[in-house]
C-alpha cells in the first residue's frame, strides 16, 4: 500500500456506503457533534413539522415551502455524504490492513522455557512468546533474544525482509508481520486490540478520530457565527412587524441556513479525515490529529545527515599518502584492510583501489588473514595476516593507537593537514596504518542528494530552519552543510546534544520536528514537538515519537510538514469561502424578503433574480450544491505551494476570499435562470 493512489470519490465501492452513510448519519447523536449541521437539522425538522401542519390545514404556497424543505434536508445529507466519503476512503484502506490481522496462535513461553499454544488475543503485555519461521508475530513487542528476518510487507508494503534482533536499534516487531528465518523471543508490548495495526485501522477509518485543537477552535468560531445569525434572523419578524408586515417562517429559515457557515460546517470533518488519510497514504502514522497540526507549525527541522541530506553511503574517491609512501602502496593497504568490510564505504575502497590502481581484490582465506571488525571502542577495523596488521579508522582513533599516541610531530602535522583538507571539502578522512606506520588517508566523500538544496530553499521561504545532525567533525559538517544549503548543523552530535538543541530552540519559541530510531533518541523524540520514529527503530523510540514512518525514510519529515500545513490551509480557505458567500446570499434573500413591505427595495436585487421566491430558492439550492461541489477539494486539500506566508495568504485570499464573494453571485443567478425556466418558482 506504499504511496497508494487514493480511491476516487466516485468509486462505486465508496459511493454506495457513503450514500447510505449520508442517511444513517442523520442520527441526532452523531449530528450533535457538529454544531452547525445540528442547527440545520433542528430547523429542517421544525419546518417539516410546520409544513405537515399546513398540509393538513390546507394553506397556500405549499409548493414553494416543499422545495425549500427538500433542499434543507439535502443540505444536511450532502454534509453527511461528505463525511461518509472521506471515511469511506479510509475504510477501503483499513480493509486491506484488516486482512493481515488474521487469527494467530502464539507460542507462549513459561518461566522454564517451554512453550504452549495460546490464541493471539489472550496475550497480555509482558508475556514472552517464541516466534519461529513461518509464524505470524502475534502482537507488537520487543525482541529480547535472537535474530530473525521478518517480512513486514503487511504494514510497509515493502516485500524485502528486514532484520529484527535483540538489543540495538532494530528490536521492535509489529504484530501481523511474519518471521521468515531463524527465531526470536518477543516480549509483548501491546495487548490485543491496541496493537500497531489496530491503531492504524482505527486511525484510517476515522473511528477514533478526536477533534484536534484547531478543529475545536474552528468549531467554536462556526458555532459563534451561527449564534450571530440566529440573532440576525430571529429579530427580523419584529422588524417586519413594525413595518406592518410579516415574514414566513420558511423564508426566515432559508435566510438563516444560507447565512450560517454550512459550507465549512459540512466539510470540516471530511477535511480532518482526509488530512489524516493523506498522511497514512504516505505511510506515516500519526498517533494523534494534534501531531498532524503541529507538523504544520514546525519552525525547525532537525535532519540526520546520512540518508536525508546525503546518500546513505560515503564513497572513497582518493588515496592521499603521507610523504614517502606511494599512492599505490596506500591503496593496496587500504584495500587489504577493507576486503572483509561489508559496509558500503568499505566496498567502495576496494573498488577504488581496483579501478584506479588495478589492484585486484584478494581472497582473505588464501591470505590467511583475520578480519578485525569495527567496534565502538577502537573505532577502527582492519586485518591481521602474516604478522602484518593493517588498520583503518577515524584519524584521531588511529593516531591514538599508533604507539600510544606518540607520533613524530611532523608526521602528526602532515596527517592532520591532509585530513583537515579533506574535512574542509566535506569528506571524511580515514587514516590507514600498517604495522604502526602511518601510510596516509582515504578520502571518503559524502554525496549530497540531488535537489536537496532546492528543498531547503523552499523550506526557508516557508520560514522553516533546517539543522543538520551529524556525527562528523565540525569541519566536515560545515562543508556538507554549505553544500546542501542547510541553515545550521550540529556536529559530533550525541543524543544529549540533540535533546539540548531541541530545548534551546523551543525556549526561543520554536516548534521542532525531528526523526530518530534508536533508544537513545527517545528523549529527544519525546521532547520534540513532532517526533517521527522510524518503523525500524526500537519500541522506546516508537513510543516516544508522535508519528511513525513505516518506510523509515527520514526525508519524509519535509513532506509531513507540508501535509500538516495543507490540512489547516484547506480548513482556513474553505472557511473564508463559506463566510464570503454570505454577501451574495444577503443580496439574494433580503430584498426578496422585504420587497412586499417596501417595493422600492427591489433596487437591492442587484442580481436581477426573477421573483422573490425564485431568489430565495436559488440561494438555498446554491448553498446545498456548493457543499457537493467542494467535496473533492476538501478531500484533496487546497494546492500547497512552498511560498512565503504572505504570498500564501494573498493567494488563498484571492482565490477563496474573492472567489467566495463572486462565485455565489454567478451561481445563484444561474440557478435562478434554470429554476425559472423549469417553472419551479
Amino acid at each position: 500500500m506504499s504511496q497508494s493512489k487514493p480511491a476516487s470519490m466516485f468509486d462505486a465501492r465508496i459511493m454506495g456506503p457513503a450514500l447510505r452513510g449520508a442517511f444513517t448519519k442523520l442520527h441526532p447523536r452523531l449530528l450533535a457533534k457538529n454544531p452547525v449541521m445540528f442547527v440545520v437539522a433542528v430547523v429542517s425538522a421544525l419546518c417539516t413539522v410546520l409544513f405537515v401542519k399546513d398540509l393538513v390545514t390546507g394553506a397556500e404556497g405549499l409548493g414553494f415551502s416543499f422545495q425549500i424543505i427538500l433542499w434543507l434536508w439535502f443540505t444536511l445529507l450532502f454534509a453527511n455524504f461528505a463525511e461518509a466519503v472521506a471515511e469511506g476512503r479510509g475504510k477501503a484502506q483499513a480493509e486491506s490492513l484488516r486482512k493481515t490481522r488474521t487469527e494467530t496462535t502464539a507460542k507462549l513461553l513459561d518461566a522454564s522455557g517451554n512453550w504452549r499454544s495460546v490464541p493471539g488475543e489472550s496475550l497480555k503485555v509482558g508475556d514472552v512468546v517464541l516466534v519461529e519461521p513461518g509464524d505470524i508475530i502475534p502482537s507488537d513487542g520487543e525482541v529480547i533474544e535472537g535474530v530473525a528476518s521478518v517480512n513486514e510487507a503487511a504494514i510497509t508494503g515493502e516485500s524485502a525482509p528486514v532484520i529484527r534482533e535483540s538489543g540495538g536499534d532494530r528490536s521492535a516487531v509489529t504484530g501481523g508481520t511474519q518471521v521468515l528465518s531463524d527465531w526470536i523471543k518477543v516480549r509483548i508490548s501491546a495487548a490485543a486490540g491496541s496493537t500497531f495495526i489496530d491503531r492504524m485501522i482505527s486511525l484510517v477509518e476515522g473511528a477514533e478520530r478526536q477533534k484536534t485543537p484547531n478543529e475545536i477552535a474552528l468549531n467554536v468560531m462556526l458555532a459563534g457565527l451561527t449564534l450571530i445569525f440566529v440573532m440576525a434572523t430571529a429579530t427580523i419578524p419584529a422588524f417586519a412587524g413594525y413595518a406592518g408586515g410579516s415574514v414566513p417562517v420558511i423564508v426566515l429559515v432559508a435566510l438563516f441556513v444560507t447565512l450560517i457557515p454550512t459550507t465549512i460546517g459540512a466539510l470540516v470533518s471530511a477535511i480532518g479525515i482526509a488530512g489524516m488519510d493523506r498522511l497514512v497514504r504516505f505511510n506515516v502514522l500519526a498517533m494523534s490529529g494534534r501531531a498532524v497540526e503541529a507538523a504544520g507549525d514546525v519552525d525547525t527541522l532537525l535532519l540526520d545527515k546520512t540518508g536525508t541530506i546525503t546518500l546513505g553511503n560515503r564513497q572513497a574517491t582518493e588515496f592521499r599518502p603521507v610523504k614517502g609512501v606511494a599512492e599505490a602502496e596506500l591503496a593496496d593497504a587500504a584495500q587489504l584492510a577493507s576486503l572483509a568490510d561489508e559496509t558500503p564505504e568499505g566496498r567502495s575502497i576496494v573498488v577504488l583501489a581496483k579501478e584506479k590502481y588495478g589492484i585486484r581484490a584478494r581472497d582473505m582465506q588464501s591470505l590467511g588473514a583475520t578480519f578485525v571488525p569495527f567496534t565502538a571502542q577502537s573505532r577502527m577495523s582492519g586485518v591481521d595476516f602474516d604478522g602484518t596488521t593493517i588498520r583503518k579508522g577515524a584519524v584521531d582513533a588511529v593516531l591514538k593507537s599508533v604507539a600510544g599516541g606518540r607520533v613524530a610531530s611532523e608526521k602528526l602535522r602532515e596527517i592532520q593537514g591532509i585530513s583537515d583538507a579533506i574535512a574542509k571539502l566535506g569528506g571524511t578522512p580515514l587514516a590507514v596504518v600498517r604495522n604502526g606506520q602511518l601510510l596516509g588517508v582515504i578520502y571518503l566523500k559524502d554525496i549530497v542528494k540531488g535537489g536537496i538544496r532546492e528543498r531547503f530553499a523552499e523550506l526557508r521561504q516557508m520560514g522553516i530552519r533546517t539543522v543538520m545532525i551529524t556525527g562528523d567533525n565540525p569541519m566536515t559538517a560545515a562543508a556538507i552543510a554549505a553544500e546542501a544549503g542547510v541553515d545550521d548543523f550540529l556536529a559530533e552530535a550525541t543524543p544529549e546534544m540533540k535533546l539540548d538543541l531541541i530545548r534551546r530552540e523551543q525556549a526561543k519559541g520554536k516548534l521542532v520536528a525531528m526523526c530518530g530510531d534508536g533508544t537513545n533518541d527517545a528523549p529527544a523524540l519525546a521532547q520534540a514537538d513532532v517526533g517521527v520514529a522510524m518503523n525500524t527503530g526500537t519500541v522506546a523510540a516508537r513510543e516516544a515519537g508522535n508519528m511513525v514512518d513505516l518506510d523509515s525514510d527520514p526525508t519524509k519529515l519535509i513532506e509531513i510538514v507540508g501535509i500538516g500545513k495543507q490540512l489547516l490551509m484547506t480548513r482556513g480557505s474553505l472557511t473564508t469561502f463559506s463566510i464570503a458567500n454570505d454577501v451574495a446570499k444577503y443580496f439574494a434573500i433580503v430584498p426578496a424578503m422585504f420587497v412586499a413591505l417596501y417595493p422600492g427595495l427591489d433596487s437591492l436585487n442587484i442580481m436581477g433574480l426573477a421573483t422573490p421566491q425564485s431568489a430565495i430558492l436559488s440561494a438555498i439550492i446554491f448553498n446545498a450544491l456548493i457543499i457537493i461541489a467542494l467535496i473533492p477539494l476538501s478531500l484533496k486539500g487546497v494546492a500547497y505551494k512552498a511560498i512565503g506566508a504572505n504570498a500564501l495568504l494573498r493567494r488563498n485570499l484571492l482565490i477563496y476570499g474573492l472567489g467566495g464573494l463572486v462565485v455565489p453571485f454567478i451561481g445563484i443567478k444561474l440557478i435562478d435562470v434554470i429554476i425559472t425556466t423549469l417553472g419551479l418558482a
Partner: protein, 556 residues
C-alpha cells in the same frame, strides 16, 4: 463645493492623523514608562496606597476596573440625588427621576454619555462638573488603561497596575490635553462662567432666558475623552457650546485625536509600529468611506422641500448650523460615531436617510477609531478572528504576535462581538414590536424604525449620540439602554483582557517568513474584510428596513 468638501475633510482627518503620531508617542511614554518607573509613578502609587504597588494578573486588573467603576457609578448617582442640597446650583435644579438618574449614571460611567435629558434644564453646575465632567475624565482613563495593559501582555510582560495606569491616563494624558484644548476653545469664544442663566428682553420685547455655564471646561473633555455628553441638550449644535467654524474644527480634531493616538500607543507598547500602521490604515479607510458616504448623501436637498418654491443649493440644511458650513454636519456625524464620542454637530435624526446610516455603520463596527482605548480593544477582537482565519489559510496554528489563538481565545472574542450585535438587534426588536418604542417616536415609517435602531446602536456602541427626536426619557428606555450600556462597556474590556491573559500564559512562538505577518497590505485587507463580514453584515436586514427602505421609498 465638492473640492471644498474634500479639502475640508482632508484637513480635519489628515491633519489630526498627523497630530496623533507625536501624541501617540507621548502617550506610550507616559502610560508605559521604561522600566515601569515614570517620574510620577511613585506619587501615583502613594495616592492609591498599598494596592498601587502590586503587579496585577488579568483577573486582578479586571477586578480593579470593576471596583473602581462601581464606586464612580455610586458617587454620581448620589450627587444627582442630592443636587438640590449641593452648591453651585444657581438655577435651583431639583430632584430627578430615579430611572433617569440610573440611566445618566450608567451612561457617564460607561463613557457613553447618552443623554435622556437636557443638561441646561435638568442638572446643576455641581452635577454637571463634579459628577458628569469628573466621569468624563476618569472613564476615558479607564478606557486608556485597558489597551495599555493588553499591549503590555502582548509584548510578553506583566499587565501592570490598574490604579497607576488610571492616574497616568487621567493626569498625564487627558488633563494636559484638556488644558490645551480648553484654552483654544475659550479663545474661540466658548463661555466659562459659574453665573446662572440670564434673562434678556429681546428687541421685540420678549423675555428670553439664556442658559450659560462653565461650558468650555466641560466641552473640552467631552470631546477629548470620546464622551460626547453635551452641556446643553442639543450638544455641539448649540451656539454657546460650539461658537464658530473655528471652534467646530477644533472640536472635530479633539474628537478623533486620542482614539487615533491610541493605535500608535498600542503599537509602541507592543513594539510593533508597522502593525500599528496596518490597524491605523484599516480604521482610516473605514472613516474615509463613511465620510464620503455621509457627506455625499447629504448633498441631496431636503426631500420634503422639493415641491415647494425653496432654493436648495447646499444640500439638506434641516438640523444644521450655518456657521459650520455644509460639510461640517455630516463629517462630524461620521467622526463622532466612528469614535464612540456621540456629541453632535448637526441633528442626526434630520440627516438624509443614507447619510444618517453612516453614523450607524460607524457604531456597528465600533472600532474605527472607536472610543478612547476601547476602540483599539474592539479592533483587537476583530484581529483575533481575522488572525484565526488567516492563520489557517497559511497552514499554521493561528498566532497573533507569536501568541497562539485557540478555542478559548476564539470563543471569548466571538462572544464579545456577538454581544454587541445581540444588544442592538434584540433591543431594537423588542422596542419596535412594543409600545415601549412605538409610542416614543418622533417620525413615522422606516425613519421611526431608524430612531429605535439608532438608540440601541448608540447605547451598545457606548456612543451616546441619538436620533434625538426619540422621546427616550421613559422608564423602559432609561432602564434598558442603561443596562445595555453597562454590559456593552465591560464585556469588551474584560474579555480582551482575559484573552491576552490566557494567551500570554502560552509559549510564545517566534515570527518568521513562515508565520502570519500582521504588517502588510494583505493582512490589512483580511482585517477589513473580517470587520465588514463579521461586524457589519449582521445589521444588513435591520438597515434595509430602516435607512435603506426610507431612501428607496421616499428620496426622489
Amino acid at each position: 463645493m465638492t473640492l471644498q468638501a474634500i479639502l475640508f475633510v482632508l484637513i480635519i482627518i489628515g491633519g489630526t492623523a498627523l497630530l496623533s503620531w507625536p501624541l501617540g508617542r507621548y502617550m506610550a511614554g507616559v502610560m508605559d514608562p521604561k522600566g515601569g518607573k515614570g517620574t510620577m509613578t511613585g506619587l501615583f502609587q502613594a495616592i492609591v496606597g498599598p494596592l498601587g504597588r502590586e503587579e496585577q494578573g488579568w483577573k486582578a486588573y479586571v477586578f480593579a476596573i470593576l471596583a473602581f467603576n462601581i464606586v464612580i457609578f455610586t458617587v454620581v448617582y448620589l450627587i444627582q440625588t442630592f443636587q438640590g442640597a449641593l452648591p453651585f446650583n444657581p438655577d435651583g435644579m431639583g430632584a430627578v427621576n430615579p430611572d433617569l438618574m440610573f440611566n445618566t449614571a450608567a451612561s457617564f460611567t460607561t463613557n457613553t454619555n447618552l443623554q435622556h435629558y437636557s443638561g441646561e434644564a435638568t442638572y446643576s453646575y455641581f452635577t454637571q462638573l463634579g459628577g458628569l465632567m469628573w466621569l468624563q475624565f476618569v472613564t476615558p482613563a479607564v478606557g486608556l488603561a485597558a489597551p495599555t495593559a493588553m499591549a503590555r501582555a502582548l509584548s510578553g510582560r506583566a499587565l501592570g497596575n490598574f490604579w497607576v495606569d488610571l492616574q497616568r491616563a487621567t493626569f498625564l494624558v487627558l488633563l494636559p490635553l484638556s488644558l490645551v484644548f480648553a484654552a483654544l476653545l475659550v479663545i474661540g469664544g466658548l463661555p466659562m462662567t459659574f453665573e446662572g442663566s440670564v434673562v434678556a428682553t429681546t428687541l421685540e420685547g420678549v423675555q428670553q432666558t439664556i442658559a450659560r455655564g462653565p461650558v468650555a471646561a466641560f466641552v473640552t473633555i467631552k470631546q477629548l475623552g470620546t464622551n460626547g455628553g453635551g452641556f446643553f441638550g442639543p450638544n455641539s449644535t448649540h451656539p454657546l457650546e460650539n461658537v464658530s467654524f473655528y471652534t467646530n474644527m477644533i472640536q472635530m480634531v479633539a474628537i478623533i485625536i486620542v482614539p487615533m493616538a491610541c493605535v500608535w500607543m498600542f503599537a509602541r507598547i507592543v513594539g510593533r509600529i508597522k502593525h500599528g500602521f496596518v490597524i491605523f490604515a484599516v480604521m482610516l479607510c473605514f472613516v474615509l468611506i463613511k465620510t464620503a458616504g455621509s457627506v455625499g448623501f447629504e448633498t441631496a436637498p431636503t426631500q420634503a422641500f422639493n415641491d415647494l418654491p425653496i432654493a436648495q443649493d447646499v444640500g439638506n440644511l434641516e438640523g444644521k448650523e450655518l456657521r459650520f458650513g455644509a460639510t461640517g454636519g455630516p463629517l462630524w456625524a461620521v467622526l463622532t460615531t466612528a469614535t464612540s464620542n456621540g456629541s453632535v454637530g448637526a441633528m442626526h435624526d434630520s440627516l438624509n436617510p443614507l447619510a444618517g446610516m453612516m453614523p450607524m455603520v460607524g457604531m456597528w463596527l465600533n472600532e474605527s477609531f472607536g472610543g478612547v482605548g476601547v476602540g483599539m480593544i474592539n479592533m483587537f477582537l476583530y484581529i483575533v478572528v481575522a488572525v484565526f482565519v488567516a492563520g489557517m489559510m497559511i497552514g499554521r496554528t493561528p498566532e497573533y504576535l507569536g501568541w497562539r489563538i485557540e478555542a478559548r481565545e476564539v470563543k471569548l472574542a466571538l462572544f464579545a462581538l456577538l454581544a454587541h450585535g445581540a444588544f442592538i438587534l434584540l433591543g431594537t426588536a423588542i422596542f419596535a414590536a412594543t409600545p415601549w418604542g412605538a409610542e416614543t417616536l418622533n417620525n413615522s415609517g422606516p425613519h421611526g424604525f431608524s430612531e429605535i435602531l439608532y438608540e440601541f446602536t448608540s447605547a451598545a456602541a457606548n456612543n451616546g449620540s441619538g436620533f434625538e427626536g426619540l422621546g427616550d426619557n421613559t422608564v423602559p428606555w432609561n432602564i434598558t439602554t442603561g443596562l445595555v450600556m453597562i454590559f456593552s462597556r465591560f464585556i469588551p474590556i474584560i474579555l480582551p483582557l482575559a484573552i491576552v491573559g490566557f494567551m500570554s500564559q502560552k509559549r510564545r512562538a517566534t515570527e518568521s517568513s513562515g508565520t502570519l505577518s500582521v504588517e502588510g497590505g494583505v493582512f490589512a485587507t483580511m482585517l477589513a474584510v473580517t470587520v465588514i463580514v463579521v461586524g457589519a453584515l449582521t445589521f444588513f436586514p435591520a438597515a434595509t428596513l430602516g435607512p435603506i427602505a426610507e431612501h428607496v421609498m421616499y428620496m426622489n
